[in-house]
């Protein structure tokens, strides 16, 4: 099972780091990074030595589920991305977290926990990209949700952090449940959750639009696309390593990854893809514009991420095999920029563009490296980023000029906000700050190096990009990555975009504030507002319902009996049963029985008007005695004897209880309680009427052949002339044992409630 090695290594990172962290806090990050790199090494090695393969391990045969893993281009690319960026971010966090924790006033050992979570997230991500089963996809997806929740909410004392964590949890959680519903529908439809099989069967029998929409919703939520985008800017409250990892290379990528993985299902559904396309463009535009006006630099990056994944979404929607490449190239660029932002914040203590600037002198290495990353993000040549826009333009060019124009504007905006960001950080008048720790800068440098490497040697990118594209399309990819110095559409668009970007950056001071106002206005009707409104209304509804909710003991009781009564009456009404009610005959011998019943009823009625507790108790005793007569006349002397005894005992217990209660309190309660509510009468009426009708119905259908007759025959065998005794102690003796245990349990309750030491010591 060589395919499992990278996965297992990735899974092992977090525990290993944790163990190492127990030994020495600083060791955790190194251990984790080493593990991640080892996993990456194993991955690369396997790629180099073996081809794509699948692994199927039986898991839940009841549901026909297996743990299915795949090693194909898509999983390889994304896993490498997750592992590589993960290793760098973990190392970065080694430098970042102690300072951060110190600022937050938290113990230094929390660093290990943080790194453990990051590594766990990395493992979940690796899992997500390698599984090949619809259900497993969801499982892994939710794993990333859970861990990201913990990571975003890592600064738990910070209310903003908490709110952001909850928002991301709910939004990504809810959308992923929708994804799950879609996956479940597909799995049920195709009779399997195994992705290759599903895709194979979908080739003949396309998936339903509903299911696809569900899947897409899950993906869009994860990738922070309109209208689910608003969690991402808020998630910037998290420590920077989280932002740089989750919100560049990992979590946000997961959504787009899902769409790529499931692309063969979406391929025939052009309307769904058109919808995705629209959402992609929308996210692109919205994200880019917001990135142009936001002041906190992490938020700029967040909106940039939204926009960039909009591009990726557009690529997927267009069915371009360049989509994986786009994501893979974007990830290091964005991660590097985030890391830069974190370093700047740590060094300056500032979080807004307006508060920093001119750092290029104090942090030259960082400035350089981040410049490379920024160039990559804005697709300047000689960076790997150039090719992401190339595939983008290539795909748009095939759809026509309108698309090309949109792409041009988008790319121009990208350049503009990237320039604004970098310039905002490093440009302008010189500002002196202490040097950044090396470990804060090194990952950025490494990433910049990679970006440059990809830009200089595009051939390195071709193989993985093609493999991933092929895995996405389920067909061979013909992706070409090279610099073409000719006037093809892609190049023209790129040049146009640079020009537009430069123009926008140069003039942005002129219109930025106006744009900002417009966007603020627009955001008032945006989905975030809708979400908040929905939540607010739900909260209001909840509170309102809670206030309306039944609380009084009376109502709680009525809420059991009245629905039961109504339900019972309805059932009586709607179920056709022959001879529903029989009146029965009353013989002369029954007269006494009837009389006794009447007296019991009369006494019961009288209890309702009884003033004073002892009267009440006595009237209840009247009811009991009358019933004892009934039982006697019903030829049940055992029951009559027992109920006579029980009634007497009850009366005494009640008298004992009354004697324990303070008399003035009894009197007061008595006086105050004499205000019956109409609805209580009504409830009692409903309960009584249904008890009457239901009993009537049951008694009207007495089964003549009851097991009681058998017990009479067998009483002799039980050596018990009294059949009731035989039933009680022998045939149904188990009932009696249980019943007696009930008595003892009640006794235990009484003794613990009225413990002997209660009076002396007061409450225990």
């Amino acid at each position: 099972m060589p395919i499992l090695l990278p996965i297992l290594l990735a899974l092992a990172c977090a525990p290993l780091a944790y163990v190492a962290g127990r030994w020495r806090p600083g060791a955790a990050a190194w251990m984790g990074a080493a593990g991640a790199l080892a996993a990456m090494g194993a991955l690369v090695h396997e790629w180099a030595t073996q081809g794509p393969t699948r692994l199927v391990v039986p898991w839940a045969p009841s549901w026909g589920l297996s743990l299915e893993f795949t090693r194909d281009g898509l999983s390889g690319l994304y896993a490498a991305m997750a592992l590589g960026v993960g290793a760098l971010v973990v190392l970065y966090s080694r430098a970042y977290m102690p300072h951060h924790l110190h600022e937050e006033g938290r113990p230094a050992r929390d660093e290990v926990r943080f790194q453990g979570l990051l590594l766990a997230f990395m493992a979940a991500m690796v899992l997500l990209v390698t599984v090949d089963d619809l259900l497993l996809l969801f499982v892994a997806l939710d794993l990333t949700t859970i861990i990201s929740y913990l990571l975003i909410g890592f600064d738990r004392e910070d209310p903003e952090s908490r709110a952001a964590a909850l928002l991301s949890l709910v939004l990504t959680g809810a959308t992923s449940v929708v994804f799950f519903a879609g996956a479940m529908a597909l799995g049920l439809h195709y009779g399997t959750f195994s992705l290759p099989l599903v895709i194979e069967r979908a080739a003949h029998d396309p998936a339903s639009t509903g299911a696809l929409v569900c899947l897409a919703v899950g993906a869009l939520g994860k990738s922070a696309q309109v209208p689910f985008h608003f969690w991402l800017p808020r998630a910037m409250a998290a420590p920077t390593p989280v932002s740089s990892y989750l919100h560049s290379a990992a979590m946000v990528a997961a959504g787009v990854f899902l769409l790529q993985r499931l692309y063969p299902l979406f391929a025939p559904a052009t309307d769904v893809r058109d919808g995705l396309l629209a959402i992609g463009f929308l996210s692109m535009g919205m994200g880019s514009l917001m990135a142009l006006v936001e002041d906190p630099f992490k938020r700029v990056l967040a909106y940039s991420t939204i926009a960039q994944y909009g591009y990726a979404l557009v690529l997927v929607a267009l069915g371009s095999d360049g989509a994986p490449l786009y994501v893979a190239v974007h990830a290091p660029c964005k991660a590097a920029l985030f890391l830069t932002a974190g370093a700047v914040t740590q060094v300056t203590g500032k979080k807004k563009l307006s508060e920093v600037g001119g750092l290029r002198h104090a942090l030259p290495v960082l400035a350089g490296a981040s410049a490379v990353a920024a160039a990559g993000l804005s697709a300047l040549p000689l960076t790997a980023g150039f090719f992401k826009d190339e595939v983008f333009f290539h795909a748009l060019a095939q759809r026509g000029p309108a698309f090309m124009a949109a792409g041009l504007v988008g790319a121009g905006l990208t350049l503009a906000y990237t320039l604004r960001l970098w310039w905002g950080l490093f440009g302008g008048p010189r500002r002196d700050v202490p040097a950044a720790p090396r470990l804060l800068v090194a990952p950025v440098v490494v990433l910049a190096g990679l970006i440059l490497l990809g830009g200089v040697l595009p051939g390195l990118l071709v193989a993985p990009a093609r493999a991933a594209g092929a895995a996405m399309l389920g067909a061979p990819s013909t992706l070409e990555l090279a610099y073409h110095l000719d006037a093809r559409a892609e190049n023209l668009l790129a040049v146009g975009a640079w020009g537009l970007g430069a123009l926008l950056f140069a003039t942005h001071r002129a219109w930025a504030s106006a744009l900002s106002r417009v966007l603020t206005g627009v955001s008032h009707v945006g989905p975030e507002r809708a979400y908040r409104l929905l939540l607010l209304q739900l909260d209001r509804l909840s509170t309102w319902l809670h206030e309306k909710e039944v609380r009084d003991l009376r109502d709680r009781v009525a809420s059991v009996l009245v629905p039961t009564g109504l339900l019972g009456l309805t059932v009586l009404g709607v179920t056709p049963l022959r001879d529903r009610f029989k009146v029965g005959t009353v013989g002369w011998a029954d007269i006494t029985l009837v009389m006794a019943l009447a007296f019991a009823s009369a006494a019961a009625l009288a209890t309702l008007r009884a003033k004073g507790h002892l009267r009440l108790v006595l009237l209840i005793s009247c009811v009991g005695f009358s019933l004892a007569m009934v039982f006697a006349f019903a030829a049940a002397p055992d029951v009559a004897l027992t109920s006579v005894l029980v009634e007497t005992t009850f009366t005494l217990l009640f008298a004992g209880l009354l004697a324990l209660l303070p008399s003035e309190r009894l009197k007061r309660a008595q006086e105050e309680a004499q205000k019956p509510r109409g609805r209580d009468r009504l409830a009692a009426g409903v309960a009584g009427a249904s008890a009457f009708l239901l009993s009537w119905s049951a008694l009207s259908h007495l089964q003549a052949d009851r097991v009681g007759a058998r017990t009479v025959e067998l009483a002799k065998a039980a050596h018990s002339p009294n059949v009731v005794a035989a039933v009680l102690t022998d045939f149904r003796g188990l009932d009696t044992v249980g019943e007696m245990t009930v008595v003892v349990a009640a006794l235990l309750g009484v003794t613990s409630l009225l413990g002997l030491n209660l009076g002396r010591k007061g409450r225990r």
Binding site: L641, T642, G656, L714, T736, V737, M740, G759
Partner: protein, 149 residues
């Protein structure tokens, strides 16, 4: 109560208990059984609580240990129900079995149901007496009262 009621009630204690025991012993043959027996015995003791008071009545050992008696009763009941399984019978198999001859002379039927009913009697007696005993214990009425929730 300065009257003839306390001595009279004391006088009734033994007969009541005897009647209770008779209910127990004849339960299998006619009306009676462990429950009425226990309730009657409990009532007889209860009567002593009413007329003689808690301290007086608690001089009887059986009253002081009413709750443990109930436990013993439950042991008897559960034992009768489940001991036969040790001999390979189904739970709740009483002896003599249906195919075995009846044992007993006069009004007495020897049957494990008797033990069973005896257990019942003790349990019910224990419940009634314990509850009454705790009710009769007038603890500091408002000692535990709290103003706040």
């Amino acid at each position: 109560m300065r009257s003839f009621v306390p001595p009279l009630s004391r006088l009734l204690l033994w007969p009541s208990l005897m009647i209770a025991l008779a209910f127990w012993m004849k339960g299998g043959a006619s009306v009676g059984g462990g429950f009425p027996a226990g309730a009657l015995a409990g009532l007889a003791v209860l009567l002593q609580y009413v007329v003689a008071g808690r301290d007086q009545t608690r001089r009887y050992v059986a009253v002081r240990y009413a709750a443990p008696l109930a436990g013993v009763g439950l042991l008897l009941v559960v034992g009768t129900a489940f001991l036969p399984v040790l001999a390979g019978y189904a739970p709740m198999s009483l002896f003599p079995r249906p195919d075995q001859p009846e044992l007993g002379v006069g009004g007495l039927h020897l049957h494990t149901a008797l033990v069973f009913e005896g257990g019942l009697m003790l349990i019910v007696f224990g419940l009634v007496v314990t509850v009454i005993d705790r009710f009769a214990l007038r603890t500091g009425t408002d000692a535990e009262e709290e103003s706040g929730p």
